[in-house]
Amino acid sequence: MSEGMRFSIELPPKDPLWRLQIYAHLADRLSFHTIWLSDHYFNRNTVVAASVIAGVTKRLRIGLGIMNPYLYHPVWMAQAAATLSELAPERVSLGIGAGDRLALDSLGIRQVDPVERVREAVRTIRETLRGGADERSRLDFKPWGRIPIYVAAQGEKLLRLAAEAGDGVLINSSWLHEPVRPVRIVREALAGLARDEKDFSVEMEALVSIHEDRQKARKTVKPYVGVVSQGIPQRLSGELGIRPETLSRIREMVLRRNWLEIHRVVPDEMVDLFAIAGNPKHVEERVEDLLGSGLDGVVFGGPLGPTPRRAIIELDRILRGLSR
């Protein structure tokens, strides 16, 4: 395992803010590096949730995102991150990606030229945070501390863009079955650009669900696995033997946000492809495997477990054990 491996968690603001306060306060006192607040228009607002979390944490970094330039103007994202840094100086990170196509479709937004849109967004955000390209686009205040920009990536083009434009990459959980491949793409791109790897963090999101009852852990993660499955390219679903009609049934459930029933249509095999779900021993073994993939960090996302508070404590115990 690499020296200084970063272990972070992702909290989707689907829960009321008071629950997020409890989880964040707990994580702040454990070994986690960053709390990422994922961004979905149907959940609570990410920036408001991040502000609330900033008020109950002292140490943890707070990651906004993944946000996307189809929903938010890059200057707005830079402004939000810079403002948040007044509540959490030196503790803010920003994640930019191309967005979830299904969610954008629901809002009538077409995901046109995703790589170029993300490239342009990262450039504009960086310029804005540095003081603006010109007088008109600058903020009238400065962020407290450097705000690293992570690029969320699934496909090869975005992985390469992350190496070119980002301070780090968050590799999509859909690569969990084969993490070495995206890591190699990013590291080769960094080498090609003569970028110092010490200035860049290669991290992967891993859906996780821990519980003594294996079946309960797996059932809990299935809605998240269902969402991830909708973002994978057709070629990959073919390679992985996922039937088009299965993806189609899941898509229906995701579109209707039928999270209570979706576990019926997400096959068990898909859980192991896109998530780490099971009892603590199983999770420990899978995480240990993942750490051999050349990553600098892992962001544990998804439900964390049927009882997230206990899952956070259990995950911390596992990670401390692996760090020894």
Partner: protein
């Protein structure tokens, strides 16, 4: 439950000590509030109060347990009864 696998769920700097039993009861009740699908029945101000007592370390005080019990009984009456039975409390 995870409690069984990892022993006492203990957060950094907090010993269970003499208040261990009430702390475990409080944590069980707290987890009901954190996982119920019925969270919309918990007024945000009450939720923030639950977070405040958790963060202040007073979750296992008699007053806090009373509040947790009241809320749990409202949102998950069956689970609440089961937790009380698990802790040897007559319901």
């Amino acid at each position: 439950m995870l409690v069984g696998s990892v022993g006492k769920v203990e957060e950094p700097g907090r010993g269970l000590g003499a208040g261990g039993a009430s702390r475990e009861l409080a944590e069980d009740l707290l987890d009901v509030l954190l996982t119920t699908y019925n969270s919309a029945s918990i007024h945000p101000e009450i939720g923030v109060e639950v977070a405040r007592i958790y963060m202040s370390g007073s979750i296992a005080s008699p007053e806090s347990i009373e509040l947790l019990l009241k809320l749990c009984a409202k949102v998950e009456p069956e689970k609440t009864s089961a937790i009380l039975r698990k802790h040897g409390i007559d319901v």
